[in-house]
Amino acid sequence: MTNPVHEQIKKDITENKVVLYMKGTPVFPQCGFSSMSVQIMEHCGCDYKAINVLDDMLIREGIKEYSDWPTIPQLYVNGEFIGGCDIMREMFEENELQELLKD
């Protein structure tokens, strides 16, 4: 039995190279960690699809199950879960995120 929420998530992270699941939007982030992750993406100067989990409770909970990660934001690159805000910041500080987003 396929899970329609997981199917939707899979579709989004497959069709878009970089996807950031966040609370709010890049222009109006609704949480400190989501706001920090948007700033990190802006510093990387990379295009990405932002998905506001506050628009859809099923996605908000489904994404945590999908990645087995308890919090939002969540970054996906090439369909793979990269991490939340802490890992994004650490990777950015060590220039790993910039490298990853360059390819």
């Binding site: 990660w69 308890p70 919090t71 991490g83 890992i87």
Partner: protein
């Protein structure tokens, strides 16, 4: 009920007895913590695995009682 620093450290040390944990109260409200956790258990693990190990040690409180935990993990050689 938010967790205080000691509760967080004790909970982590239950799973990682050798852990060195540095806690910082980010907002002064006892609900926004930063933790640097070092343990030999992280050796050879990816960042995501290390963070998941800490979240599991916190017994699924991440995102509930523990609203905001800024986490940094480092392997202890």
């Amino acid at each position: 009920m938010p967790m205080n620093a000691d509760e967080i450290v004790n909970q982590i040390k239950k799973t990682f007895p050798d852990a060195v944990v540095e806690m910082t109260d980010l907002a002064g409200d006892g609900d926004h913590w930063s933790a640097v956790v070092k343990s030999s258990s992280f050796v050879g693990k990816s960042r995501i695995q290390q963070h998941k190990m800490v979240y599991e040690a916190l017994g699924g409180k991440m995102g509930d009682d523990l609203h905001a935990l800024q986490l940094k993990t480092k392997p202890l050689d």
